[in-house]
Subunit: 745 residues, 2 copies
């Protein structure tokens, strides 16, 4: 499959990063062309994925290829070199919005069937299901994860620290999690002795057996089963609400409804129907008829009641308001607009919201727009405990200090859809009391079982042995290369982790770990040790499973750097290729709003700069292309200069934005290449570009600045018009002409 010409795949995604690409890619291609490296694009946006799912309903010119599938195949190619920008993990409301937009643009795609009744609707629902949530990452992440703060970024943060809210030891904020009845407490786990076919079955009280799923497991694969009790979950929510009512601490829910796309919307829905219990009980019949789905948030109620007579709407709205009297204050997503924590499931995502809260003195925003101490409700105790430990730590030691703290790189077990993040097709909401069990298909023997009740959420997770082996290897490699102690976070009291501990202990023996400090610790001792080292300026690699990978690569970077978007995120593919992810800060919907309303894009492409530099360097090494390595080195130097000179985008309209920042990067990059003496050809080639950019700096910046301040039309949110967007994102005629002339040269 390998093509001979050196190639980098640059992904087109959604929202702010996709918009930024319209400005950045022309600059990148100007530089890579000089080294005869082609930068190809691959559109994996939600819109593209929707369109690729319904070719038969589109005209020939409307049809798009399934680029995600193509890219997935490429990950198996040893020469793969992919730069992956942040994309939307679509919730159902987001998916519906994208569908509506595409329909309005003349694409004859079907509506999303909320409750598919016919075979056709079920088929449509199935196709859409594959687009929901984190659909991209499982396809592309064909390797484990290597995430770290680039030295330039860390040095910059130490020199120019971001703001950190002070912590009071008298803070009332805390994490609340279930003390029983959750996945943690019911988890069972086993390691396959051989390749094994298994069936996941539900056995009803009357003995009826329903096969829910069949799996082919490989030798050495770890299989888990666990469930969350709906009853325990609802009791837990009620308890936390009552406790907040009593203590006056604000209530806030933190789940991950996007990534945990099957289980967490249900958990979120329970929170909604417990908080607004009176409304949901009083209007139960009506809501059922209307198709209100609490898993989509309270917004679902507001949406569905729109069809009702005005007086009825008012009655329901009054009933909703009446609920607040008996409940504690709830954290707001947007206090001005009255958007609460329970409005939309994708608004508060635990891995981003908790670090933000911790950085903000442990406070979230109340109804009056003021920061308040908060009970951060995270039902799953498995991971929530680490936040409580960090909260306690901040109460005791004060906020982290970015100028002195160490860094926490992560080596994450991610390959082959490891663990919970690969569980969506094996997650089931129970429709009756009974037994969930996993049996060996060959002889029907029982592997594990759970007694469940109607409403419980049961799930199975798989972790491939090959992924674990590679993870252990990557941990040792990173510990050695960076001369940094590493801790495997594996909880002694957790069934799954006990299986992994045994494997890690075994596989570690296969490597030379002489002189390395590699430990295996339960989560709480692990985070505590890591934090104790952190405040003493010492670095510690966290070697974690997939969920903790996700959580920690937001948590620590946000403390260290103020954002996770500045992290290097490398996926060394199992097959040998490399994927360079840029930014973990999401796709930033608010940035798009600002662009459309004021023509200012505050998105910081730093992650792209850093990823591209590593991508070029590794390409250079692999393909023996000294020019590529030189381009990468020069790009890193340009990025450092950019940071030093504070040429990152401002949040304020009228000041330097994403496009201006790209200009500076291009200018510095060209200057670096012009200044170097390693490659005379590149030097000669980039000298005139450096001069042109430097000489025209004022003109270009003025053209860019003049463009700002009024609304612009990019022809769509999920599927913007390419020509319109390009015009908006490349507003400097001078810059455009310099680049065009250079390419032509």
């Amino acid at each position: 499959m390998t093509e001979k010409s050196p190639k980098i795949i640059y992904t087109l995604t959604d929202e702010a990063p996709a918009l930024a690409t319209f400005s950045l890619l022309p600059i990148i291609r100007t530089f890579t062309a000089a080294a005869e490296i082609s930068v190809e694009t691959s559109d994996i946006s939600v819109a593209a994925r929707i369109l690729a799912s319904f070719p038969e309903r589109l005209t020939e010119s409307q049809r798009v290829t399934d680029t995600l599938a193509e890219l997935g195949e490429l990950t198996l190619d040893p020469s793969a070199n992919i730069i992956k920008l942040p994309n939307i993990s679509a919730s159902i409301p987001q998916l519906k919005a994208a569908i509506a937009e595409l329909q309005s643009q003349g694409y004859d795609i079907p509506n999303f069937p909320d409750e598919p009744a016919t075979a056709e609707q079920r088929e449509i629902r199935d196709r859409y299901s594959k687009i929901l949530g984190s659909a991209v990452n499982p396809v592309l992440r064909q390797g484990n994860s290597d995430r770290r703060a680039p030295p330039a970024v860390k040095a910059f943060a130490r020199k120019f620290p971001h703001s950190m809210g002070k912590w009071s030891p008298a803070s009332r904020s805390h994490a609340a999690y279930m003390k029983g009845g959750d996945f943690y407490s019911s988890e069972k786990s086993t390691t396959m002795q051989d390749d094994t076919d298994v069936r996941i079955e539900f056995v009803a009280k009357d003995g009826t057996v329903t096969v829910k799923k069949e799996l082919h497991l490989l030798k050495g694969e770890v299989l888990d089963g666990m469930f969350m009790s709906a009853k325990a979950l609802r009791d837990f929510f009620e308890d936390t609400l009552n406790d907040c009512k009593e203590t006056g601490v604000m209530w806030s829910l933190h789940v991950k409804a996007t990534m945990m796309k099957v289980s967490h919307p249900i958990v979120f829905g329970h929170a909604v129907t417990v908080f607004y219990k009176d409304v949901f009980e009083k209007h139960a019949e009506l809501f059922k008829d209307l198709g209100v789905n609490p898993n989509n948030g309270l917004s679902s109620v507001y949406d569905k009641i729109k069809t009702l007579p005005h007086s009825k709407q008012e009655e329901i709205e009054e009933d909703i308001h009446a609920c607040y009297a008996g409940r504690p204050e709830m954290a707001m997503v947007d206090s001005v607009k009255g958007i609460t924590n329970l409005h939309i499931p994708s608004d508060v995502i635990v891995d981003a919201s908790m670090p933000a809260m911790i950085r903000n003195s442990g406070q979230m925003w109340g109804q009056d727009g003021k920061p308040k101490d908060t009970k951060a409700v995270m039902p799953e105790s498995t991971y929530a405990r680490i936040y409580q430990e960090m909260i306690n730590f901040c109460k005791t030691n004060g906020a982290f200090d970015p100028t002195t703290m160490g860094t926490v790189p992560n080596v994450g077990l991610m390959a082959m859809k490891a663990e919970e993040y690969g569980s969506h097709d094996k997650t089931f909401e129970m429709t009756a009391d009974g037994t969930m069990r996993i049996v060996n298909a060959a002889d029907g023997s029982l592997i594990m079982e759970h007694q469940v009740e109607k409403g419980d959420i049961w799930r199975a997770c798989q972790t491939k042995d090959a992924a674990i082996r590679d993870w252990v290897k990557l941990a040792v490699t990173r510990s050695r290369q960076s001369d940094t102690p590493a801790i495997f976070w594996l909880d002694k009291e957790r069934a799954h982790d006990r299986e992994l501990r045994a494997k890690v202990e075994e596989y570690l023996k296969e490597y030379d770990t002489d002189g390395l400090d590699i430990r295996i610790m339960s989560y709480i001792p692990a985070i505590r040790r890591t934090m104790e080292r952190l405040i003493r300026g010492m670095d510690t690699i966290s070697v974690t499973g997939n969920v903790l990978r996700d959580y920690l690569t937001d948590l620590f970077p946000i403390m260290e750097l103020g954002t996770s978007a500045k992290m290097l995120s490398i996926v060394p593919m199992l097959a040998g290729g490399g994927m360079y992810e840029t930014g973990a800060g999401g796709s930033a919907p608010k940035h798009v709003q600002q662009l459309v309303q004021e023509n200012h894009l505050r998105w910081d492409s730093l992650g792209e700069f850093l990823a591209l530099a590593v991508s070029l360097e590794e390409l250079g090494i692999k393909e023996n292309l000294p020019k590529a390595q030189l381009l990468g080195k020069a790009l890193d130097a340009a990025t450092e200069k950019l940071l030093e000179n504070n040429k990152s985008p401002s949040r304020k309209t009228g000041e330097l934005d994403n496009r201006g920042s790209h200009f500076f990067l291009g200018m510095y990059w060209a200057q670096e290449l012009a200044a170097q003496d390693e490659d005379a050809e590149l030097k000669a080639r980039f000298e005139p570009l450096a001069k042109a950019l430097t000489d025209n700096q004022d003109t270009i910046l003025k053209e860019m600045s003049d463009a700002q301040g009024h609304p612009v039309d990019i022809g769509g949110y999920y599927h913007p018009d390419a020509a319109k967007t390009s015009a908006v994102m490349c507003p400097s005629a001078t810059l455009n002409s310099i680049l065009a002339n250079f390419k032509a040269a």
Copy 2:
């Protein structure tokens, strides 16, 4: 020195335990006489120690021998068997009260000279200084410490748990300690390579050298020097007060002015003069003239101004009240009487007050008598951090559950005046800026030095190698005997502890630790691991230095048992003898008040029962006295029965009190001996006693109950009249006569 006849020394001490002895001792002697064991008394009360200090001023009949010195000598006897009851660690106000009482009883002893001006006064002050604070323990504790919850007591607590205040995760309570400028941050430590004479010297700014102390150190002895900055301390107090004022959290000071009798009164005095800064500044001259000493608490102001004209008194009192406006609410010792935390230095003793606060949902009592979240201010960060860790733990996991929690026995390094508790004669308040240094007396070479400022508190501590060796041995022995993991609490970041870690690592090699789980951990990981095990029902021996010994043997027992008075506290003497300490709960002044006012003594002699049982058992083993062993075994069984049948003293006047509880113990003890078949002689002997006590139970209890409810005269507080007290404490003529007849038999 050893006498041939088996002997137990029972100490006479102060306050409630001393009163209880008047009732208990006749019963004990009734039983021990049957095994031909003599129980001798040794009066080490504050009053006795005062009288022994001034023989030349007393009449022959008034004179007492220096029993403490005698007892100290006995600790060097391998056959020593001493039961040591709690005694007063006298503060200066307590000492003065005792002096006044003795004077009123006709003893011509001198007043305590606050500011000795003449040689005679200095000599008097010197004699009194030896009585102040924990003067008894350093003399008697000629061994390390073995403290544990007796199984019967632990089982009882699990079955009939004491109340535990719930912990809210939203609690604002926390510990506050210095982040610099305290002993912890300045500590230096070194181990002597040989026997060495050293000088502790102060070098003034002008080069003048003053020798503060000369020491003879032994080979292997650990020597520490450290200081607390007065400026940093005062800033710290001011900061904590301002923080409380801002957050509304109550302010509370927790020091140990009794035990740390030189350093902590000074620390306490700084708290007083910072809190009441305006008063002390405004009236500085006057207070100096009056001899106000803030180290004795705000009560010193009230005492000293009594001589002033009424109007001046009122002015000062108004100025004191004005201070409260600018300060946060302060925790009260007695909110009804308006006695605050800063009134008297001995009122709030950290090792007792912090567990009480933690058991009380992290709250202390406010001015309105209501429990409130509290900032527990403990300047020395060395140990205060463990309380913050426990507070965080309780916020996270809820209050400890006595019905399920494990136990934390302690092996404490206590022998030979180890560590800070032996530092009083080497603690100095700086009178000028300069350098404190320790030099080798032989060649004048520098061992360590500190730059200090006027007001700083500098101290040196010694720890003998022989004590450390014995401590390590005792830890291994206890871990082996009880099959319990042990943790040496030694802080990697503390100079002194680093010296000890090296020794412990070395000495551990001398023992068979095969199959034992013995670790060395810093304090915070140590307490965390201990607590994580504790809530899972697992036991962990804490092996600690002397201060942590003291703190932990209150902290954990108060969680586990509701009191530390029920702990077995054994001092296996270095010389081979044994001391059995009863109760760590202090000497309970409130109990005495209740007895005098209502003739009800709520003191629980359980600690005495338990100590006596171990004392008898060990005496039996050592002296080959099966009868002693049997008496001990029967006493343990009687104690279990007493607990099971809830015959411990009630707090309420009119209900069973200390004396009634003693009766039940005696009856059960006799019944056990009558029921056993190991020793026919004892059986025959105790059958009639058991019968007499059982038959007369109602009469005896009625006589005891009738005695209660009105004031009684015991002729003194510190030095009660023996005949009067005996009459009060033995109110049942029936019981007295049964015991007298039995002895006569």
